[in-house]
Point group: none
Chain length 376, copies 2
């Protein structure tokens, strides 16, 4: 493909690390390791990677010097017939780790041919696995020879940058909402990419392993926020870019093959971003602004001296002017007193305590909601 404003040529190998500005919503042509090494470090929120898994599997286990590995004690830390693939894997995962923000996370998809190499490398490189996700295909290709089980799934690994770097995005509530109000599980049932969604060039598939948009939809809805940057180092025909654009996220695509880039570019251009109401990103409860109980007293929503009850009216406590409670000699915050009267180690005072209004018990959390609504 000729140069266009949407396609960047790969940075030369000599490019200084981090000297290239992040090419937002563009496809960069080139080797993903070189390109990633040219990007600014800690600059992307999430990486989605669908690496190749074409391996030379028939070789026997040999070291680089061609001696055969036979012992127990030296097999596990030596190169093997998988050496070339492992080397490639470590290189791109290392480059990916550099460009990933400390609060970022990475997704890698694969099958049993390569996923154990990838998972092993991720762990060795100090990534921290969050989940392994099973994409259960509703319409897999059958096993024609009847020699094994129908290979009906692929595996995705979702990992944070390291064990002590938390802060990764997980839209728990959105996932739960998408799953009829029960937690989203680690096994996802989705059809393979077929029909109109399957991109063609003439009457041939544009790409051998095009992933369904539904898969990326769930990945991005789960682990990114609107405006986040998603890097895909094996961009192919651009499923990641198409879904990112639709969902109001930014993408950076890296791809070597001109033919794929061309198809991906056309595809993404045709995608429209959903409007903001439809996007409807709701802040998780954990991320909402903190409202001290004292504010409710301060504003007169709750009067000092008033009595609070639990939902069964088994426990009662009186409100003091400073926003603490007192019950049976126990003084402290709404949480501490709630925990103590029940003899529990912890308690969410917001949902535990109620005020009595016209004979009805109203959780004090409704006042907090009022205050938050004012704050937008």
């Amino acid at each position: 493909m000729a140069n266009s404003d949407k396609v960047k040529k790969a940075a030369p190998k000599t490019a200084k690390a981090g000297t290239i500005k992040l090419p937002l919503n563009k496809i960069v042509q080139g080797d993903c390791i070189e390109v990633m090494n040219s990007l600014p470090e800690k600059s992307v929120d999430v990486i989605f990677a669908d690496p190749p898994y074409n391996m030379q599997l028939k070789d026997t286990l040999t070291r680089p010097d061609n001696s055969k590995v036979d012992g127990v004690h030296d097999a596990w830390d030596q190169f093997s017939s998988f050496g070339a693939y492992d080397h490639f894997t470590y290189e791109w995962l290392t480059a990916a780790r550099r460009v990933l923000k400390d609060t970022g996370s990475i997704w890698v998809i694969g099958s049993y041919h390569n996923i154990f190499r990838v998972g092993n490398a991720l762990q060795n490189l100090d990534y921290w696995i969050l989940n392994d996700i099973i994409w259960r295909k509703s319409n897999p290709m059958p096993n024609f020879r009847g020699t094994r089980f129908t290979n009906a799934h692929e595996t995705l690994i979702w990992a944070g940058k390291s064990a002590d770097k938390s802060g990764y995005t997980f839209n728990y509530d959105a996932m739960k909402a998408m799953n009829d109000d029960t937690q989203m599980r680690s096994d996802w049932v989705l059809p393979i990419c077929a029909g109109k969604e399957r991109l063609k060039v003439g009457d041939k598939k544009a790409h051998a392993t095009q992933k369904p948009e539904a898969l990326l939809y769930r990945v991005l809805m789960a682990s990114t926020k609107p405006g986040d940057v998603i890097l895909d180092p094996f961009f192919g025909t651009g499923t990641t870019g198409a879904v990112a654009k639709k969902l109001g996220r930014n993408f950076v695509g890296i791809e070597r093959e001109t033919d794929y880039i061309k198809v991906a570019q056309e595809r993404i251009t045709a995608v429209k971003k959903l409007d903001d109401e439809a996007l409807g990103y709701t802040l998780s409860k954990k991320a909402q602004p903190r409202v001290p109980f004292g504010n409710l007293v301060e504003r007169g929503m709750i009067t000092p001296g008033e009595t609070l009850y639990d939902s069964n009216k088994r426990y009662a406590a009186r409100v003091r002017t400073d926003g603490t409670l007192i019950a049976e000699e126990v003084k402290g915050s709404i949480h501490q007193v709630g925990a103590r009267v029940q003899g529990q180690p912890a308690c969410n005072g917001w949902t535990f305590w109620h005020v009595e209004k016209k004979g009805e018990l109203l959780p004090i959390d409704v006042f907090r909601q009022e205050i938050r609504a004012e704050m937008h």
Copy 2:
């Protein structure tokens, strides 16, 4: 446990490899690596292994009701590093390979904590992966903190002794018959081991990680013939032995802990071999799979931003990306919003809401039916 005719003491480390006769249908007490090295080479048909997962649990975990989760904190699951775990893995997999017949196969079960280490080691040791099998738990433990996807599955790797040594057993027709006459897939839905099947000592579970018999039933039905020898190097409370005996197969169990051996021995003694007729598998009736509304959005059957109507077009609501609806400031699931706009306590959103296609109103339930049809 005292010596008995059913329990053998481990062979001494100096025992010459292969000098011990195969202890058929017995539990050998000792370290599995030493014991396996003392057994005759190429003597067992199938190995089933449930090694420690190296879960690296830190603090105690509590449920939302403040009760404590009884996690796996046993000494046998503690390893100092990945290196230590890898070393252990290579050792036992090497010993296992020696006792396995050339026509044999091996099963190893694990979770994301260890399965990538195991899979990597299997490949490096020249085993040949036949399938990775997903045990989808119908009743997994939820994620109590809302931080990740519910960890709802475990992975089994099924591998032959090497790429050029075929001849492993796969009972294709039995598997197909067990699965309503369609090929058995690589994902198996089975409940966890609970209820009466769960072995207890007093009121405590006998083993932290007892596997369900249904899982071993399928493994052995798929990959062994009557009379075959199945070796389990991490025998625990003997699920492998119990199912092997029931199915008319022979087992060899290796276990270190006296307490587990005692429980396993009693359990297996109580098992009766099924008569040949009873070996026919009774099919459990499949329930209608639940399809979340979010799936329709994810798959593009319904577009975020699209408007839904009731059959009389009296009410309207817009679809958001996470599969919730919004109508007149009311947000929530298709059921919740349907109920609220009507002022009713409840509503079946599937039949209430419709999409407009070419001037016709189509209930959204038709899309759910489409998805169910794909799932069979």
